[in-house]
Symmetry: C2
Subunit: 120 residues, 2 copies
């Protein structure tokens, strides 16, 4: 069932914290996983309508990386031009506890946060 | 007790996932928190001896940010020249569950990881 990802991006160390950060250690990737997994956003325009205003070039590069690493998959929902919806793979769903832990920390430690109901 | 951090770095949104990533959303910051919180590393040379080989300029900038944001504090352990040891504040300790969740994900999903005993 669980075909593991090869450790290839930067190979800093075999520590699983490091290998996880090699993949999702940036300001945007986990927001896309959050959008799909908690907020029911699946299409390019859904992601771009998020309050964080992800730049379109960053969105495109992160979706490509997540597809390459099989943390998400996509299915077409229209042709001419073809457009895709994105969903989490089992490995991608596995990141939801990381996101939840981050949400709890932000709620407890950063002023002015608002915990969305879907993250509670 | 719990004086919350101001939300100031990038102010992308009030979502606590986003505000957390504003602070620690990069490849290195959580490794420093891991080093202090799980591996008992407290001094510059301890961090630099980690297997990930953190570049010294990145280490310096992250320690400064973590001090500014009060996720760590420091105490001198020698004078002439003065050198410091770094420890987690209560807010910094609050990130350990995030790191643990990342470690579990890396263990389960990335080939070639090795879970250090102190992270188990």
């Amino acid at each position: 069932m669980n075909k593991k990802l090869s450790r290839s991006l930067s190979e800093r160390s075999p520590c699983p914290v490091s290998t996880t950060l090699d993949l999702v250690g940036d300001k945007w990737t986990l927001l896309i996983i959050r959008d799909i997994g908690f907020f029911g956003r699946h299409r390019n325009k859904d992601f771009q309508q998020g309050v964080e205003n992800i730049p379109s070039n960053i969105l495109a590069s992160r979706l490509k990386m997540l597809l390459d690493k099989k943390l998400i998959y996509r299915t077409p929902y229209q042709n001419n031009p073809v457009r895709y919806e994105y969903f989490l793979t089992e490995a991608g769903e596995g990141l939801l506890p990381v996101i939840k832990a981050m949400a709890n920390w932000g709620r407890d430690n950063v002023a002015g946060t608002y915990m969305p109901r879907r993250l509670q």
